[in-house]
Amino acid sequence: MRRRERHAGAFRALRTQRDQTVNDHPSDPLSIAHSAAPGAGSLTASAGFGSLLDGGFRILIAGAGLSVFALAGLLGWELYRGAEKALSRYGVGFLTGSHWDPVAGRFGALPFLYGTFVSSTIALLLAFPLSVATALSLTEFAPFWIRRPVRALVDLMAAVPSVVWGLWAMFEMVPWLRQAAFPFLQRAFGWIPLFQGPIYGVSLLAGALIIAMMITPIITSLAIEILRAVPPMLREAAWALGATRWEVIRVAVLPYVRSALVGAGVLGLGRALGETMAVTMVIGNRPEILLSLFAPGYTLASVLVNEFAEATSEEHLAALFEIGLTLVAVTLVVNFLARLLIHNIPFFFAPRTLRTQPMEGER
């Protein structure tokens, strides 16, 4: 008890010393000791300047933090103001209407919602298993010397600009899909309605494929980080029991990171929903809901980038603003769900709560 008081006292003394040094009132005994030391004057002066700098820095940082709120507020308000007319005029019908004809003044956003959801979902279904498998091979199986270069390559691919992917997809992927892949799929799975109808090349499926290619490096990169965060001692425990490599993954690794990987997938989905340029270049841009994946489609982001420049009527512009608002809302909901997963599912990014002992002494 007494020791704690003494500590508190010393702490108080230090605090007063600091305050008074700043105020140039060295009445505290500790400060006197300080000013008696050689060069004390210069020390006091620099401390004063330092604390001034510190205060300025704090204001700067606080300002930067607050500007996030300001930006978010501005964005929301601007989108809302732009979309106000459309909101009041079409109401819920905007989201359920399936005809989009700016010339006739008909604005129903359902084809875009459908295109966005279908292309993103297919992309995620393709990208997620591939990403997890890649990450597992790079953390558990691949020879050590190959892991680092491939990881660097994955990160590099995550940084390739959207429009470059789009260019490649337009000139290489789409012709190949039209001539080889889609006819093959139609022969093999033509009895499923999803693979029926005429083949143009540009299509919902082409859009989904390019999104999948773009989010695979991102999910892979996240998954690698997640897998590398698995405590080595869990793997060792499994190895020491005579587990094979696959069994180590099944017993020690995957149970530990399961929900973290789901979270990585949802973050990838967030990227997929907002993906614009490359998708616009290959999806066909036709605002229709067609069951066939070979048929052209349209997404929320694509219609924005295509029509904003040529929107002349006020209604058209307001409708496009509402599309933007919808896209933001959809992305927010997905991100919110991701965060819910991160925080509410046990074992998600929270190995610390699992440890019942301090970690020091660990290799």
Partner: protein, 273 residues
């Protein structure tokens, strides 16, 4: 109970002759280990007797953990590690190409410095995971082994009513005993223990040490420890390592009371920089 000098089993064995040469658990000949270009073990030769506790002592960085992990080929998962020399487990060279390290590790169990139960598994699942990996599905056998392993690890009475609770719910000492039970459930022949008590409080340490002394009835145990008292209390034989070399290997009593090498004496008396 807590490893006092009056423990009859220990005094009966310590100071006795080396056990019959015919059946050592491990015969290690000229074992070298490199981490990249750095040699960590320089030609260690040692015979580890069966059904006894062999303690490995030495200052930090002397290669005692490296030595231990060479005995079940755990180094294979660390990049850049090279092992050379012969290690025979009951006569079989474990580094021969035709040896399956998976099967080897089922015969040579391991307990780590830090208790590491699988956090997503219950107590029961933790104990039985090794058997499930070995493909055993027989419920009766699993239940039998579960109780047997937990009893051997002196944990049964504490957890029998909550076998389905997460393993991480247990206290530190209980978790370490759970890990011992997990290693014992597969019926290994040898148990390697890498400073199993270094993260535990004195009471939990005493429990584990007394457990180690009991396990000697059925298992050959290699115990790495940086705690001299622990080696003195638990080990029948003790090997002293220094800078990657085996300095002395003797019965614990002889090594602690009358070491033949000066370096051993210096280390035991703390006259070691």
């Amino acid at each position: 109970m807590t490893g006092s000098a009056a423990d009859p089993k220990r005094t009966a064995l310590a100071g006795g002759a080396l056990p019959q040469k015919s059946q050592p658990a491990f015969q290690i000949e000229d074992l070298h280990v490199w981490f990249g270009n750095r040699a960590v073990l320089h030609g260690v030769s040692l015979e580890i007797p069966a059904r006894h506790v062999t303690g490995i002592i030495g200052p930090s960085g002397c290669g005692k953990s490296t030595f231990l992990r060479a005995l079940n080929r755990m180094h294979e998962f660390t990049p850049g590690v090279r092992v050379q020399g012969k290690v025979r487990l009951f006569g079989e060279d474990i580094y021969e190409p035709r040896v399956d390290p998976i099967l080897l590790r089922r015969r040579v169990g391991m307990v780590f410095q830090k208790s590491n139960p699988f956090p997503t598994m219950s107590i029961q699942e933790n104990v039985l995971v090794g058997l499930r990996l070995a493909g055993i599905r027989n419920r009766g056998l699993l239940e039998e082994r579960l109780e047997e392993a937990l009893r051997m690890a002196a944990l049964w009475n504490e957890v029998r009513d909550r076998l389905h609770a997460p393993g991480t719910e247990l206290s530190g000492g209980q978790q370490q005993r759970l890990c011992i039970a997990r290693a014992l459930a597969v019926h290994p022949e040898v148990l390697l223990m890498d400073e199993p008590c270094s993260a535990l409080d004195p009471i939990a340490t005493a429990q584990i040490e007394s457990l180690i002394r009991d396990l000697r009835e059925h298992y050959s145990i290699v115990l790495v420890t940086h705690n001299l008292q622990e080696a003195g209390r638990t080990a029948d034989f003790t090997a002293f390592f220094l800078e990657g070399k085996l300095i002395e290997f003797e019965s614990t009593k002889k090594l602690f009371t009358n070491p033949s090498r000066k370096q051993t004496e210096d280390y035991l008396t703390g006259r070691f920089e």
